[in-house]
């Protein structure tokens, strides 16, 4: 037993599992309180109070919501493809959770699950897998509105993924590494948002589109498509879609903090507490996501495609060219 415990492979797997367990549970808590925050902020933006009945300031509202979701009827529509109908909500959560494997929360090894040399590519790969949940959920429901939502999302997410991938290349050129830890280390003096403001802007806009948040929530556009891809989903399956959306928002915000806002870097705090900076920046970005949602109206579909293909994509290509030329000039002056 002791020999097995001292095996480095076993140790590696054990500690990775412990960290995954911690991240999973913290994530669940953060997501439920982010939903509370969203409702509260939305309330105040619309001159209401927001949820305030369950517990002090409505703080127990998320618990009540989850309990309600659990006790709802689980409904599978007639003519639905049963297996895919059940798998789709799981697919919504998994890619978002996998992304957390490469996010460095702090400078210490204990504060990250792993550091791989293609960390950024893993994030892009997972965000490209995220489209399956919505597309399949919409298709397998055997419902016109759901199918329309699914088709919309597959076109939308593929279009915006390109601009998102290209907007990170400016950062890659400056950091010279695909490892997220190296990218954060490269930002010790200046955050990359200073040198790459255009890329940051493009990344945030595409992040909104990739997570299907307003003003890009066309796959669920309640005014035209009832509820879009999750029209037929009820109970905890709907809850999983909800969880997936917010987990995606959090993971993409983590990546944005890592790439553009200097990760854990920040003044005043000693190295052992620098992870606090990471969470402050993360909180600011999450607030930004909620703020956008309750400020902008939804785009029309042709406006969405025009913005993606005719504005964001050329702009991100121009940004890459500009960055590359500047870097070349700096090195070969």
């Amino acid at each position: 037993m002791a020999a097995l415990w001292n095996d480095p492979n076993v140790q590696l797997v054990f500690w990775a599992l412990v960290k995954i367990l911690i991240i999973l549970h913290v994530m669940l808590g953060v997501v439920s309180y982010m939903i509370y925050a969203e409702r509260k902020i939305a309330g105040h933006m619309q001159a209401r109070v927001g949820p305030n009945r369950v517990g002090p300031f409505g703080l127990f509202q998320p618990i009540a919501d989850v309990a309600k979701l659990f006790f709802k009827e689980e409904f599978t529509p007639d003519g639905a493809n049963k297996v895919i109908f059940h798998i789709a909500p799981m697919l919504a959560v998994i890619p978002a959770l996998v992304t957390f494997a490469v996010v460095p929360f702090g400078p210490q090894d204990a504060l990250r699950v792993t550091d791989i040399n293609v960390g950024l590519l893993l994030f892009l790969a997972m965000s490209s897998l995220g489209v399956y949940a919505i597309t399949l959920g919409g298709w397998s429901s055997n419902n016109k509105y759901a199918l329309l939502g699914g088709l919309r999302s597959s076109a939308q997410m593929i279009s915006y993924e390109l601009a998102m991938g290209l907007s990170t290349i400016g950062v890659l050129l400056m950091a010279g590494s695909l490892s997220l830890v190296d990218i954060v280390h490269a930002q010790e003096r200046w955050w990359f948002v200073v040198f790459q403001p255009v890329a940051f802007l493009i990344f945030m806009i595409t992040a909104l589109a990739e997570t299907n948040r307003a003003p890009f929530d066309l796959p669920e556009a309640e005014a035209e498509l009832v509820a879009g891809f999750h029209t037929e989903y009820s109970s905890m399956k709907f809850g999983l879609f909800f969880l997936g959306e917010f987990a995606n928002v959090i993971s993409i915000s983590c990546i944005a903090v890592t790439l553009f806002l200097g990760g854990w870097n920040g003044p005043w705090l000693p190295e052992s507490l620098q992870f606090i900076w990471f969470f402050i920046k993360l909180g600011a970005l999450l607030f930004f996501f909620i703020w956008i949602r309750w400020t902008f109206p939804r785009l029309r579909y042709d406006q969405l495609m025009n913005l993606g293909w005719k504005v964001l994509l050329p702009l991100s290509l121009a940004n890459i060219l500009f960055t590359a030329v500047l870097l070349y000039w700096r090195d070969h002056r």
């Binding site: 895919i84 892009l124 897998l129 399949l136 298709w139 088709l151 597959s154 593929i158």
Partner: protein, 184 residues
């Protein structure tokens, strides 16, 4: 641990590939193909080709297969009908030819071809990874083929748009809405 992982990924790859060609529902086939590509990415990781593995997931699983799914949903294909004598005959011949090809590969391997272990060259599996080396080679030695592929993609893009737009009687030009007839 590596052989066990390899056997796991290989078994998943073969099983998923078989399901791709055996399942009657095109959407399920496409999903099994996605799974097959992901397990292939796992095999690439075992071969220390991290960059290729990630690009495999981004390009194949994230883009090409979404396109497939999009078309299957757009055409609203449900289950394939496969019955009738001539279809059965053709299927028999197909499996026979496939078995023949596999037997050929078996004989080749039996004759001590492709021996030896996978070399573990330290220059390929260093801690910085091979992304930089691939980039260097791609933009120096392989610059011309690289530019050719960009032309290929451009041509394919134009071709796809032209073909998909169609020239049938129902085709309308983009941005041109059919005008309502003026009352006479």
């Amino acid at each position: 641990m590596t052989p066990a992982l390899f056997i796991g990924f290989a078994a998943m790859l073969v099983a998923c590939s078989l399901m791709v060609i055996l399942h009657r529902n095109p959407v399920t086939s496409a999903l099994f193909l996605v799974l097959a590509f992901c397990s292939l990415a796992g095999v690439y990781l075992l071969l220390h080709a991290e960059f290729v593995a990630m690009v495999q997931i981004i390009v194949y699983a994230g883009a090409i297969m979404v396109l497939f799914l999009f078309v299957i949903m757009y055409l609203n294909l449900r289950r394939d009908l496969e019955s009738g004598v001539h279809i059965a005959v053709r299927r028999g011949v197909g499996w026979l030819l496939g078995a023949l090809l596999l037997a050929e590969a078996w004989v080749l391997f039996g004759h001590r071809w492709a021996q030896g272990p996978l070399a573990s060259d330290p220059s390929l599996a260093g801690p910085v990874g091979n992304t930089q080396a691939i980039g260097q080679a791609l933009y120096t030695r392989y610059l011309f083929p690289f530019e050719i592929t960009s032309m290929l993609l451009l041509v394919a893009m134009v071709g796809a748009v032209v073909i998909a737009k169609g020239r049938g009687p129902h085709a309308t030009r983009r941005g041109e809405t059919p005008q309502p007839k003026e009352p006479a």
